[in-house]
């Protein structure tokens, strides 16, 4: 391809992605406006870029406590999901029998259940665990993490299942002959080969869990336990929404995930670069 053509493509791609992002641009600029300005023109730049609404939004949300809670819940859940789901998926792929097929299809099929229909029975089950086994499943971060793992497992297993097939069995067999246990084979040989898909699973789960509202809203009651999305409820009345603070709050919510994504993406790209050299 010619150089100029490539440049043109570059510019086109950037332009297109900017258009693609315009709704986010609208969100950010409106976090700086009051109701009157917002009404006059949603697209116009704000009269001033004062961070007043960000400050008040952060204060109302109790931002740093909420950030800490969100980080704890999201990171712990994702790590557990990755460990358990990759192990499960690998076993299911490598064990070619009816049972593993049934298990796999159960995982897949449950991805189609709308959460709203599970909500009430789920709360009952958790309450039952609490009252009979005395494990505090509700109104604790750990309980939420447990449920997060349960709900995220289907998709994670599904993703791993699809990609583990491309890992050559020969490697594993060689390792087994060298006296590695299954555990060793998985963690030393297989898991490192799944790096790309692991990063993908991590990204998708981090985002889903970070933004999740419904499940935490049902399980966490105490003020001190609220995650970031939960803390934004102050801005949403039944009819009246405090748009500037809501948009400021939302912008604050997504900044950590954007940073995480850019970091994780670099990791994938490193993988490509290494491949290109060899």
């Amino acid at each position: 391809m010619k150089k100029t053509g490539k440049w043109a493509l570059d510019i086109l791609l950037l332009l297109f992605s900017l258009v693609f992002l315009s709704p986010i641009f609208i969100m950010v600029i409106n976090s700086f406006k009051n109701r009157a300005e917002l009404y006059e023109n949603v697209l116009a730049l704000p009269s001033s870029f004062s961070f007043e609404y960000y400050r008040s939004a952060m204060e109302r949300m109790n931002f740093f406590t909420a950030l800490g809670n969100s980080l704890y819940v999201t990171i712990t859940s994702v790590i557990i999901v990755i460990i358990l789901a990759s192990m499960t998926a690998w076993m299911l792929v490598r064990t070619d029998n009816k049972l593993s097929k049934i298990i796999f299809f159960t995982f897949v099929a449950t991805m189609l259940i709308p959460f709203q229909t599970l909500m009430m029975p789920l709360m009952q089950v958790m309450d039952w665990i609490r009252s009979t086994l005395h494990i505090p499943m509700l109104n604790t971060h750990e309980g939420l993490i447990y449920m997060n793992v349960g709900f995220s497992s289907s998709m994670a297993v599904f993703l791993y299942h699809g990609f583990i097939k491309s890992v050559p069995v020969a490697l594993e067999e060689a390792a087994t002959l060298d006296g590695c246990s299954k555990f060793g084979v998985f963690w030393r040989i297989v898991f490192p080969l799944l790096k790309n898909i692991t990063v993908t699973v991590a990204i998708l789960n981090v985002i889903a869990l970070w933004n999740d509202y419904l499940l935490p809203s049902l399980t966490l009651s105490d003020v001190g336990l609220r995650t970031i999305p939960l803390s934004t409820f102050y801005f949403f009345g039944q009819f009246t929404i405090v748009w500037n603070q809501a948009m400021a709050g939302l912008t604050l919510t997504i900044i950590p995930v954007v940073i995480f994504y850019m970091f994780a993406q670099k990791y994938i790209i490193k993988g490509i670069a290494a491949g290109a050299v060899k």
Binding site: S131, S221, F233, G237, T240
Partner: protein, 421 residues
């Protein structure tokens, strides 16, 4: 039938409330002293409050802090976004995680949650509730009103002279005149309650016995299409469709923005909408509220949106603490002050004096004082009907000008029958 009587007596009773409230100041102080001292230093169990009005969450949290400072007792305020409240409440009750104090709306919602409501009849603070403003289960008092709210035609007094709009003809003429001037005469907006819920309240409220009428409608014994007030109401709706901006194009935010900038002369709204005008400099001083002039109606619609209730699944200790808190809220100076100044409620208890009211709340308060009110019949509509049945039918009406008012009423009857079954 008891309910029907209650509804009607509300009209006259509310007059009483306000007069009492207006001159009740000296008595209040003594009442507060008695009631507020109830807790007398005894440490009570921690309670939790869960309630639907997001706007008062922060003042309530603040108040809980003050309460702890004054009495040493702990109150935790939970929160939920406006739309999600009911669903979260039900899920929490279902897992024995229910709050000690929560809020319910009148009608089907209170009916569904009946088995959770504690009898508060013997409590001191309920004695001050204005007549017929309490939430009752049979003859037990189970809920204390947040405050009263009202809706009607909210107008810009630079564009509208309320005495000019008194019936269908003058209403239509006004819309036409505004249209000729390039303005919008009356704006509804696309949110279900603002599109149809509130405006449809008027013909119901004008029935002899609104609740009985709803009951008959549920059973299919009467039809809106056969009832004169509704027939006239449909003509109003036709006029709005013909001469005003299509409400489907308007959101609550744009509705109030257009109103605040003089592009819209009137909106069908309630006193709560005043907060939407606050960012528009001093426009707020130009507004007033008048009745929706259907079938000679000269009253605005006043009612109670939510009630405080105590969860009867809470243990005795918690129930005791909950009652102590409510007592403090409704009888201590701090509590009463918070209700009017921080929650910005128009009080529905006789021992609480109204605070500094904005013009719209003032109008509601005045109407309440003089008894010029019609009830909120919409609270008794079948559950979920406004959003899920009446609104879609109304959207169809506003989008398709070939649907006559009469056909529209028939359609409303049809969806009502389905939702009530």
């Amino acid at each position: 039938m008891k309910k029907v009587k209650k509804m009607l007596s509300l009209l006259t009773a509310t007059a009483l409330v306000a007069t009492l409230a207006a001159c009740g100041s000296p008595q209040n102080d003594t009442g507060a002293a008695n009631g507020g001292g109830n807790t007398d230093g005894e440490k009570l169990k921690k309670i939790t409050i869960f309630q639907s009005k997001v706007e008062i969450t922060e003042p309530l949290e603040q108040l809980a802090k003050t309460y702890q400072q004054e009495t040493g007792n702990e109150v935790e305020v939970w929160g939920a976004a406006g739309d999600a409240y009911m669903q979260q409440l039900v899920a929490r009750l279902g897992s024995n995680q229910g709050p000690t104090i929560f809020s319910v709306a009148q009608g089907p919602e209170a009916e569904r949650l009946k088995s959770y409501l504690t009898d508060l009849s013997d409590e001191e603070f309920v004695q001050n509730i204005a007549p017929d403003m309490e939430l009752k289960d049979e003859d037990k008092i189970v809920g204390i009103p947040y405050g009263v709210e009202g809706f009607g035609l909210v107008y810009n007094n630079e564009l509208v002279n309320p005495s000019d709009i008194t019936d269908l003809d003058s209403f239509t003429k006004f819309l036409e005149q505004m249209k000729a001037e390039g303005k919008n005469g009356l704006s509804l907006s696309q949110e279900a309650y603002f599109l149809i819920g509130h405006i449809l309240n008027t013909p119901f409220a004008l029935q002899q016995e609104p609740l009985e009428f709803i009951d008959q409608l549920n059973k299919g014994e009467v039809k809106m299409a056969d009832t004169p007030e509704f027939q006239e109401w449909a003509k109003f709706m036709e006029a709005i469709r013909a001469h005003a901006t299509n409400p489907m194009e308007i959101k609550y935010d744009t509705q109030m923005g257009d109103f605040a900038t003089g592009r819209t002369a009137m909106v069908h709204q309630g006193n709560w909408s005043f907060t939407m005008l606050e960012d528009f400099e001093d426009f707020g001083s130009n507004v007033g509220m008048m009745p929706f002039p259907l079938a000679g109606n000269d009253k605005i619609a006043v009612g109670v949106a939510s009630y405080w209730v105590v969860n009867n699944q809470a243990d005795a200790e918690e129930a005791k603490a909950a009652k102590a808190f409510l007592n403090w809220l409704f009888t201590s100076e701090t509590g009463k002050k918070a209700i009017v100044d921080d929650f910005k409620f128009i009080p529905a208890l006789t021992n609480i004096e109204a605070g500094n009211l904005d013009p719209l709340s003032e109008a509601v308060h005045e109407a309440t004082s003089s008894g010029q009110t019609i009830p909120w019949a919409l609270n008794y509509f079948p559950a979920g009907i406004i959003t899920n049945d009446l609104a879609p039918a109304t959207q169809e009406f506003f989008m398709d000008s070939s649907i006559s008012g009469e056909q529209y009423l028939q359609k409303l009857d049809e969806v009502w029958a389905r939702a009530a079954s």
